[in-house]
């Protein structure tokens, strides 16, 4: 199962430059054309499932507007090997 991740975009920092949109390897980021930030830009947002939390969007973001989260991969833990 792929790792599940998601991003939060800070409204005051995002300037809608769309560098994250073209950098996203999963193509799940786009500019939200229905909404304006207080600064007057269309902010980036997630448009579909599939984010893996790779943080490439945050690496190319010139305004450090993106916080990236990821669910840690779950490894089923075996019970202690006692009789």
């Amino acid at each position: 199962m792929p790792v599940k991740g998601w991003i939060e975009v800070h409204d005051l920092h995002c300037k809608g430059c769309a560098l994250c949109v073209s950098a996203c390897p999963q193509d799940v980021i786009s500019l939200d054309m229905e909404r304006l930030t207080p600064k007057g830009y269309h902010p980036a947002h997630l448009i579909a499932d599939g984010c893996t939390g790779c943080a490439i969007c945050a690496i190319v973001c010139p305004d450090a507007a993106i916080t990236v989260y990821r669910e840690a991969p779950v490894h089923p833990q075996k019970a202690p090997a006692s009789a």
Partner: protein, 258 residues
Amino acid sequence: MMTTPVKPEIQVVYQRPDSFTDLTTHYCPGCTHGIAHRLVAEVIDEMGLREKSIGVAPVGCSVFAYKYFNMDFVEAAHGRAPAMATGIKRVLPKNTVFTYQGDGDLASIGMAEIIHAAARGENITVIFINNAIYGMTGGQMAPTTLPGMKTTSSPFGRDVELSGYPVRMCEILATMEGAGYIVRRSLHDAKHIRQAKKAIRLAFETQERGLGFAMVELLSSCPTNWEINPHEALDFIAERMVPVFPLGDYKVNEELKH
């Protein structure tokens, strides 16, 4: 045998570095100045240098850098950041001193200061942003403008017969004996941004280990004055700037290789 169900744990993979203030930068959307700022802030956070760092801001687009870094900062006269950093470092040798300069500041009016700071082997770190244009004043031709590149003061393209050839700072400074770490990196995609961060870290380590003058040149974009969109501006760096300003290590002190 029982398996214990485990709740997925939520990790923060990436967040805004602590060395940044909460202010929104004045840079145009898509300007790679922001990326360079962020890399410097991340490296300072990772090395735990914030309490003892003193930055020197230049004149140019990054003139307000002191507002965006949450650390001590001073503002230098145009081009004189290396001279100011020299003074600070000599008076406070235990502090980490770095300058953040653009190409109009460092390669034009500040040419003498940067050359002599390197020749003296001042133990400072210089972050040099090369975007081949004067950004703040409206896109005039800079010493680093590419041959044939259109700017507001060379509307038919830079004519090398009239205004000469671009200045390559890394190549010049690598000839200085006082230089410990001189490299050129680019900010045009995630891979190169990661490499740039490693270089910035080594540049700060050069200073911490007292190995002399360190400079990282970062090829940057200026979508507004190049009059293209931010994504195309990154392609412009890869296709047009990298051939003129080859990426690479121009001088690396032997001790840094271990």
